[in-house]
Symmetry: D2
Subunit: 109 residues, 4 copies
């Protein structure tokens, strides 16, 4: 079993032991992911990047990734494939010669 | 190389070809992750869960996972480990006998 | 009519001309608010605070405030009252002698 | 003094008593706003729109509006003006004859 599928299985088992699939529609999973992303951001609020508490970053990042894996499972999405596809697409939006050393959005390049 | 490390390498190579490490401090990576999570949520706005466009979900979820992988790499975080640790911690916050069939937050159980 | 009620009326008229009340349940209004807040944040991504484009800030902040006003109207909330109440509550969580010159969260003071 | 200016003054006084202006750069204010918007959304997570706790909605919405007012003050933005301007702009993006009874985004109308 792949590393990602293995993590998904752990999360699904956790969910099913609690009979939570009934709450895990895609809209609420996406919302939960966003809320956890926001809790991750709170660790940096009013601070410099290097001042965040790393243990708390691990905790919140784990929640974000957990919901991302559950949402992917919901749609039977192949995570490796979508990341590879997106990198390819971004390579077209951000060609090296235009984007190098430049943080502008593609529509402002 | 593990599946997750392999994806991280693809993302890091993409970043480095564009000389973007200079922008990728942890605070802005977390912010980028949150913005992508929000774009994912926009696919469900004013809609039922099952009405989102799946191809767009793949696209936005790939962005979320991409920034999560980059942030993990930034801190040299072992993704598998933090997810496993968090599931264990959540098992204590949400014991099966209290949480089964119940979507309440742990502090309201 | 108060300034806030007047703005709410403008937004409600806009909504009703388009027959959009059917989509504006509280959950989606809160989600829309969050998405606009995220678009506001995108104006600061990879940038220093002072580098955001002010005209775009106005645009996104107007969207945030618009949804906040619509959500308040949905619940018939008195905006002035809840802000005043919250400042009072925050005064108790963040007493001047503990919080002065300090950005810590109340539970870490 | 206008109702909005009056609320801003209450918030600024609260901030200044605690010497917090030093933390309130525009980027972190926008981030704080987004985090509060996310806490507002959490009140609806795994729930139907009508199941949120109204007292908590008031509390979180007050935080959102508080940061919106502080951010507007930071840029000396006239809130009434930007909302009126945005409604006008949205009227062009969402003409009644195309948008009526339809929740599609303007670029899909």
């Amino acid at each position: 079993m792949s590393e990602l599928r293995d993590l998904q299985k752990i999360l699904i088992d956790f969910r099913d032991e609690r009979d939570w699939a009934q709450f895990h529609n895609a809209k609420d999973l996406a919302l939960a992911l966003s809320i956890e992303a926001s809790e991750l951001n709170e660790l940096f609020l009013w601070k410099k990047a290097e001042e965040a508490n790393i243990e708390k970053v691990k905790d919140e990042l784990a929640d974000v990734i957990g919901y991302a894996l559950l949402l992917a499972e919901k749609y039977d999405i192949d995570i490796r494939q979508i990341v590879v596809d997106k990198v390819k697409k971004n390579g077209e939006k951000y060609p090296v010669n235009k984007a190098k050393g430049n943080a502008k959005k593609y529509n402002e390049l």
